[in-house]
């Protein structure tokens, strides 16, 4: 009797997992195949879901993407995300190190740390208008510096929070010992702090990069003409008589490749990084 109940429970559990898997997979699958469709095959009744059986796959959308401005939007996204990640992690490290090692100094207390976190919690939509006006006053609207610097500032709290956590795990005594042994400050960083921080630092860089790569609202409001990220391009592609859903799906498919690789590489850290968000 009990055994039988167990088995029923198992079957129900596996069924729930199967349904959930399909529910997660279906939209992804549809997006990927739509990127390989001719526009006439995208929306049909019944839907064309199986390549080679229902429709003949084509590379047209990808050819379109890389032969037009759309391809360049990935470059713009890359420029903005790489530079602001580098800046945010670099600046964040300076802060994180001070918070972690010298919390007793003025300015490194919990109060200022909490202030940083409030900046993180501030809704982007509330900040969007003043930030937009800020860059307009400076005559930098729709330029790389505007977008890069905005991303940097809004991501510093994230990197500080993460790096501080990783730094706290490295015993201070190791560094002290190195200094007593006559290492310079720079040597102690190069030989002790950075190697021990290694994976944590890499994960911080990777995930911060993903957040910036994926960002939409600031990309839309602070740029969108001369500087155009792929996220801000998508809504522009819906203007017009016939929406080219296959091209949109193609851009989406390309855009998620790097984040998925990062997810697989840094799976152990993903939880920590998303909880800090």
């Amino acid at each position: 009797m009990k055994e039988r109940k167990r088995r029923i429970g198992r079957v129900i559990g596996l069924m729930i997992l199967a349904i959930y898997t399909i529910a997660i997979a279906f939209p992804l699958y549809v997006t990927i195949i739509s990127g390989f469709k001719d526009i006439n095959d995208v929306f049909t009744i019944p839907p064309k879901l199986i390549p080679y059986v229902d429709f003949k796959p084509t590379l047209k959308p990808f050819v379109w993407i890389f032969s037009t401005r759309a391809g360049r939007t990935f470059i713009d996204s890359l420029i903005c995300s790489v530079s602001s990640t580098a800046l945010a992690v670099g600046l964040g490290f300076l802060s994180a190190y001070a918070y972690s090692r010298y919390p007793y100094l003025r300015g490194n207390g919990e109060g200022s740390f909490f202030f940083l976190l409030t900046l993180r919690m501030f809704p982007p939509v509330a900040a969007a208008l003043p930030v937009y006006l800020y860059w307009s006053y400076l005559n930098l609207y729709d330029t790389y510096p505007a977008l890069i610097w905005t991303y940097t500032i809004f991501n510093i709290p994230l990197t500080v929070w993460l790096l501080r956590g990783f730094l706290d795990e490295i015993p201070k005594s190791l560094e002290d010992a190195a200094l007593v042994d006559g290492m310079t400050t720079w040597q102690s960083f190069r030989k002790i702090v950075f190697p021990l921080l290694g994976a944590g630092l890499a994960a911080t860089v990777a995930l911060t990069w993903v957040f910036v790569w994926n960002e939409f609202l600031f990309a839309l409001k602070l740029a969108g003409n001369r500087v155009l990220t792929y996220t801000a391009l998508l809504p522009q592609m819906r203007v017009g008589q016939r929406v080219q859903w296959n091209n949109i799906a193609g851009i989406g498919s390309i855009a998620v490749i790097a984040p998925i690789i990062i997810l697989i590489l840094f799976r152990k850290y993903v939880i920590r990084l998303y909880m800090a968000r």
Binding site: L17, F43, A98, Y102, L129, I156, L234, V270
Partner: protein
């Protein structure tokens, strides 16, 4: 005799005092503008383009807010969208995380499934919005499947369903987060507890109620909090899928701020609204924490 070297800048002063000034200055280069802007604007009346310059309005914006039915309707919609959405995401995440651990015996398969379930979370909101729009648009995939099964098409982004459709898209994308948090927390429960329970011949249900759920209480709360705040904060899906429409049918609080700021350009009022929304987050956080954690 060796000359005494001039004392160099101490490590403590350099790394603890001077270095962190650089990021602080960087942050204040923008925040130093934002804060005064909010504090100034909330007492002004200023419609960009229509007025020469801001006019001092005293507490007029506050009175306007109190009588702004569109604002209060948006509050209600946000409560539904964020509240119900968060509840479903956390419950679903809990069910999937626990099923994954209990019913999938192979470690490799479990890891593969977990990573697969996390993929939606890594996708840009801009892309996921378009994925779901492609499914939900009137002639989109969902309707074409319904039609080919002989069922009537549903107005997924029509007035009645729009907000719910956005919520479903959110659930699809963000159940991953509670799932991951709960999964990790469940794995950190000491295995010995389960072995002891098994020796006592406790039923699965008893084990779930007496061991697993009490242990998972805090992670569940954290997951709920994170999800609630994010869905309250981010407007990407509303903006991209329905633009708050049809009419105002899917206008959430965040999107109302967007409209006031960028469409109507009521700069003064938007300053107040922005602050209210920002501190709304803090308020919600505080209430949430008091209710669930302070109670005991």
């Amino acid at each position: 005799m060796k000359a005494v070297k001039p004392k160099r800048l101490g490590r403590e002063r350099l790394l603890g005092g001077i270095a962190p000034l650089i990021p602080t200055i960087a942050i204040w280069s923008m925040v130093g503008f934002l804060f005064p802007w909010f504090l100034y604007m909330m007492f002004q009346e200023y419609t960009a383009g229509a007025m020469e310059r801001p006019r001092f309005a005293g507490i007029a914006n506050f009175i306007k807010l109190a009588h702004d039915t569109r604002f209060w309707t948006a509050v209600g919609r946000t409560a539904y969208y964020s509240g119900v959405g968060t509840l479903i995401q956390v419950l679903l995440g809990l069910i999937i995380a626990l099923s994954l651990i209990k019913f999938i015996k192979s470690d490799k398969l479990r890891l593969v499934l977990l990573i697969f379930y996390l993929i939606p979370m890594m996708i840009s909101e801009a892309v996921s919005s378009h994925i779901w729009l492609m499914l939900a648009t009137p002639q989109g995939y969902l309707n074409s499947i319904l039609r080919s099964l002989g069922l009537p098409a549903l107005p997924w982004i029509g007035p009645e369903l729009a907000l719910t459709t956005i919520m479903i898209a959110d659930i699809w994308q963000w159940t991953s987060l509670p799932l991951l948090i709960i999964y990790a927390a469940r794995l950190s429960i000491p295995q010995s507890l389960y072995e002891a329970a098994r020796l006592d011949e406790a039923s699965d249900w008893m084990i779930l109620r007496q061991i697993t759920l009490p242990y998972l209480k805090t992670p569940i709360l954290i997951a709920a909090l994170l999800r609630f705040m994010d869905s309250y904060k981010f407007i990407d899906k509303v903006l991209l899928m329905t633009y708050g429409g049809p009419g105002y049918a899917s206008e959430t609080l965040g999107f109302y701020v967007y409209q006031v700021s960028f469409t109507y350009r009521y700069l003064g009022y938007s300053g107040l609204l922005g602050l209210v929304v920002a501190f709304g987050v803090a308020g919600v956080l505080l209430i949430f924490w008091r209710v669930f954690r302070g109670g005991k």
